[in-house]
Symmetry: C2
Amino acid sequence: MILEVADIRVLAGKEAEFEQAILRGLEQVISKAAGAKSWKVQKGIESPNRFLLMIEWETLEHHTVGFRQSPAFQEWRGIVGPFFAEPPVVEHFQVLG
Amino acid sequence: MILEVADIRVLAGKEAEFEQAILRGLEQVISKAAGAKSWKVQKGIESPNRFLLMIEWETLEHHTVGFRQSPAFQEWRGIVGPFFAEPPVVEHFQVLG
């Protein structure tokens, strides 16, 4: 299992709209993506326009190839992309221990 | 419940030693801290010297006051601090939805 962590900064004042959009995107797009096992959005306390999207994928390739090269990725970006203040920083992780 | 996320960069070549140290620190210090409910370390795939330490605290103050102002914090930093390439970026989050 691989954890995708996307560090997202949202346009000032657009946080509430983004929250609705990302929850809709998870339901509408991510929940149907092959290899997506679980997902969670964490909202920043010190930085209220910072969100960490965490998705557990079965393998790295389920995300980087299967999802990103599918039409679903464009649908996803269409839903959440308009709220990004800058391109999100996305990396992948493996649990230690 | 509050999620602490510490974004840690480890000195090049010290990753394996750090992995042992942080697992020991979690067992020896964090597992005994009041209000610490669960913890996980995620190791970077694209950035092998990047680690995300995630700790769920009962409240924000359990971390920022109870833990950071206790001698346990010095013990923890003594175990993991020597491997830091730079000061970790630490923020707190709340799950959305």
